[in-house]
């Protein structure tokens, strides 16, 4: 990308599509880009519509009657939603830190050429890439044997490591960290643990950021683990909450009903439809604002993964 953009000679100017074709291509991409963004705008506009207008006229591309009642409701009475936001944030932070540590340590160990168990551990990482036990047996092991049913760890542990990420790390360590650096630290008497935490991690920020980013998005966007393992509503993440609201929008009132207001009255008065879409916005907004800044790391991670070490 850089070689082309900096290459502003006459040739670059001369060798390009004519203006009409360029215009046509631009129009096509404007259309495609809008198709990709409009759905989010629709959700945003529904979340800002007044409940009454939704009940009477349905959903619209732009709000018929603007209202922030959904967000006011969330701030004032949405204990369930705020709790879910907390669960999502906790799972994302803990999961990402844990996942990065587990992934990078394994990647580092596999990148050490003289390590005696390297061959064995390479198989440990490789076999799950081609064969897996499938959903049924994983489910029974996680619930019956490991006791993860209705535990927050069910949302964190199963997603922490992926062999793909381990291999990205290994490739990075192998190709960018000079052997001499590690050897001189070994000669100075540093333990491998110390080398990993004080030398490898700090100088490997690009790959750590990439893996961390993959994990962050995976945890924030995960709903499947909740669907499998979580029945307790107090442990719902935002995704799980939205999922349950999609099948039953009245569920929002259940929790609030215990706070003094009667259930029937709450179901009748609360902004259900717009609050549901406001939950979707709470999920999408952080991602939509964060990813343009991290896109570079993301793409570099995807292309590094294609290179085998």
């Amino acid at each position: 990308m850089t070689s082309k953009s900096t290459y502003q000679t006459g040739l670059e100017k001369f060798n390009r599509t004519n203006k009409a074709v360029n215009l046509l291509f631009n129009l096509i991409f404007i259309l495609l880009a809008l198709l990709c963004v409009i759905p989010v705008i629709v959700v945003l506009s529904i979340s800002f519509s007044s409940e009454e207008s939704i009940r009477e006229t349905g959903y619209h591309l732009l709000p018929v009657a603007m209202s922030a009642e959904a967000y006011v409701y969330i701030i004032k009475q949405g204990t369930m939603i705020l709790r879910a936001l907390g669960v999502s944030a906790l799972v994302t932070v803990v999961g990402t830190v844990l996942g990065v540590l587990l992934t990078a340590s394994m990647g580092y160990v596999l990148s050490r050429p003289n390590y005696k168990l390297r061959g064995f551990l390479t198989w440990v990482v490789f076999i799950p890439m081609v064969f897996n036990g499938g959903l049924v047996s994983s489910y029974f092991i996680n619930t019956n044997l490991l006791g993860l049913k209705d535990s927050i760890w069910a949302l964190i542990l199963p997603l922490a490591v992926s062999s793909f990420n381990v291999i990205i790390c290994k490739t990075f360590f192998k190709s960018t960290i000079p052997d001499g650096l590690i050897e001189s630290a070994e000669i100075d008497g540093a333990s491998q643990l110390r080398i990993f935490f004080s030398i490898i991690m700090p100088i490997s920020l690009p790959v750590i950021a990439t893996i961390g980013l993959f994990l962050c998005f995976a945890y924030w966007n995960d709903w499947f683990q909740s669907m499998l393992y979580i029945d307790n509503q107090n442990l719902y993440s935002l995704q799980a909450l939205l999922n349950s609201l999609m099948s039953n929008v009245d569920a929002l009132a259940k929790n609030a009903a215990s706070m003094g207001v009667s259930y029937a009255m709450l179901v009748a008065t609360m902004p259900k439809e717009s609050a549901r879409m406001a939950v979707a916005i709470l999920i999408v907004l952080p991602v939509a604002f964060a990813y343009p800044f991290f896109q570079k790391y993301f793409i570099s991670g995807l292309t590094v993964g294609a290179v085998k070490g």
């Binding site: 060798n15 759905p39 168990l117 044997l145 491998q192 995704q239 292309t303 294609a306």
Partner: protein, 317 residues
Amino acid sequence: MSSQAEPKKRKRLRMRWHKQDTELTLLALPTTIWYILFSFLPMFGIIIAFKNFKISGGFLSNVFNSPWIGFKNFEFLFKSNDAWIIIRNTIGYNIVFIVLGIILPVLFAIMIGLLHSRKASKVYQTMMFLPYFLSWVVVSAVGWAFLSFDKGIVNQMLVSMGSDPINWYMEPKYWPFFLILLNVWKGLGYGMVIYLATITSIDSTYYEAAVIDGASIWQQTRFITLPMLKLVIVMMFILAVGRIFYTDFGLFYQVTRDSNSLFNVATTIDVMVYKQLKTATVGMASAAAFVQSVLGCATILAANWIVRRIDPDSAMM
């Protein structure tokens, strides 16, 4: 430990267990334990497909004590008419996804690479990447906003044009189109960026030489860009074929809102396994999961074998 003695000592001890090996093993231990618990135990747990497994009590005692029933679970699975619908859906959708998932991203990657303005190209890429970051639950909410019977945007447009509203979630005939469209929509920006990364890494001297020889943009695309992309395309194709028995559960379960009317057009292996697991019909679910794991493993290994013949560096092993 003196620095001069170290290399000699290392050579002598190369075959012996060293302090560093202990430390590295300790460092790898947590991840290894993770792999044992979350990857390898389920691999052995797969034998429940051949057992009459009951869901009560401890897992291990159940696995050991439940009676072997041979291929009974598989007989049940393949005697039901559903099995063939499900396999047809899984493979059918995947074939369409693989073909469109290569043609469209390659086409748009080439087109976006030809835009005059780099800035515009960046903006389009960023916007088109957005759907990739939306979870299927959110996509399902978006779908509901458009397709809901009484409130949906599409039905409102139909009514305002004088036609009858359609109960979209009850009409199977539209759904193959919707599912394919959504899959393309979600993956297009991602695929485009992958191919664009390859295109921008092509040495610009090829194009310079071509221009001096009087090649048109079309000829440059046809004889430089496409041939340079061939390897990546073949690789992506083979890897996708290797996963032909796996589908995106969220697309087929969440987006269709698990509507029973759509069973014939939207149930894939993953959806069936999940539903049977939730209704506690473990026998059939474990048999289907077993078939998926084994066939999936075979296709991935076959795909990897082919990759290695084409380009050894890109193979997994």
